[in-house]
Symmetry: C2
Subunit: 158 residues, 2 copies
């Protein structure tokens, strides 16, 4: 019998190849599994949907959350054909799955032209030293909205 | 005359309040500007769209890219009511705008219950020490797909 890890990773890799061959985006695929069943899937669709955030993991997380009717992926496993980039890592932490499995590493990705390392380095730099300048414009109204949020009753925390 | 920075930040903050009041998600708004015109906007819509990736910046980036017909935000400025979380920072680097302006800081966000610091700390940990376990399942087929990508002609790089 096929190992379930192998089965799900194989599907993620099939998605990576079919998306690439159809010109949807780079060679990345992802499936999300709960209780042994696939509840979400996606391939990199940056070119196809003209959306720089449409990485395989993000597409699959959105798909799974829609299907579950929940913005949390409690008890789910993510199988992705490549180690997630910093954006997708952030998305994974917000979605809170149980585990993540990946095949290719970020070093493998860098070798074929997808260099996440640059982003990791930028995240660790002070705002003033980043390639894209980030500047604070302090604003009393923004502060007020946060205070209103803090006082809001019956809000859903996520 | 109103300073353009103030004008655009004010709109981002208005989006943060209206999204919160409508129960779409947390108190976060974002507008994207090119040549003095708003080309994209969004508020946090995590609850409304059941999508943990629907942070204000991501929603606005998707909106702007669709309108421009481009997956890059060259020459654009992002105005966001709060300093971006690690996921949105990653998205911003992939979209490559010119500049980012924010009002509230991530410390302000933590005080009202949005703790990005946890994610920043996790990103810096080795995979084996993270709260969500990340495990490599090396796979020859995944490696083969990357090699096919490297050899693919006429591919669009992004």
């Amino acid at each position: 019998m096929e190992n379930p890890h192998e089965k799900f990773m194989k599907l993620a890799i099939e998605l990576s190849r079919s998306g690439m061959m159809q010109g949807k985006g780079g060679p990345f695929g992802c499936v999300i599994v709960k209780d042994g069943k696939i509840i979400g899937q996606g391939c990199n669709s940056v070119l196809d949907t003209i959306d720089p955030t449409a990485h395989a993991e993000i597409v699959a997380i959105r798909d799974a959350c829609k299907k579950l009717g929940d913005f949390q992926l409690e008890g789910c496993d993510i199988y992705t054909s490549c180690e997630p980039c910093p954006m997708c890592l952030g998305a994974i932490y917000w979605a809170r799955p149980a585990r993540v499995f990946y095949a290719n590493t970020k070093e493998d990705a860098a070798k074929v032209g997808f260099d996440d390392q640059f982003i990791y380095e930028e995240l660790d730099l002070p705002l003033s030293e980043r390639k894209i300048p980030f500047s604070q414009l302090p604003n009393e109204e923004a502060d007020k909205v946060f205070k209103e949020w803090a006082l809001l009753n019956n809000k859903t925390l996520y």
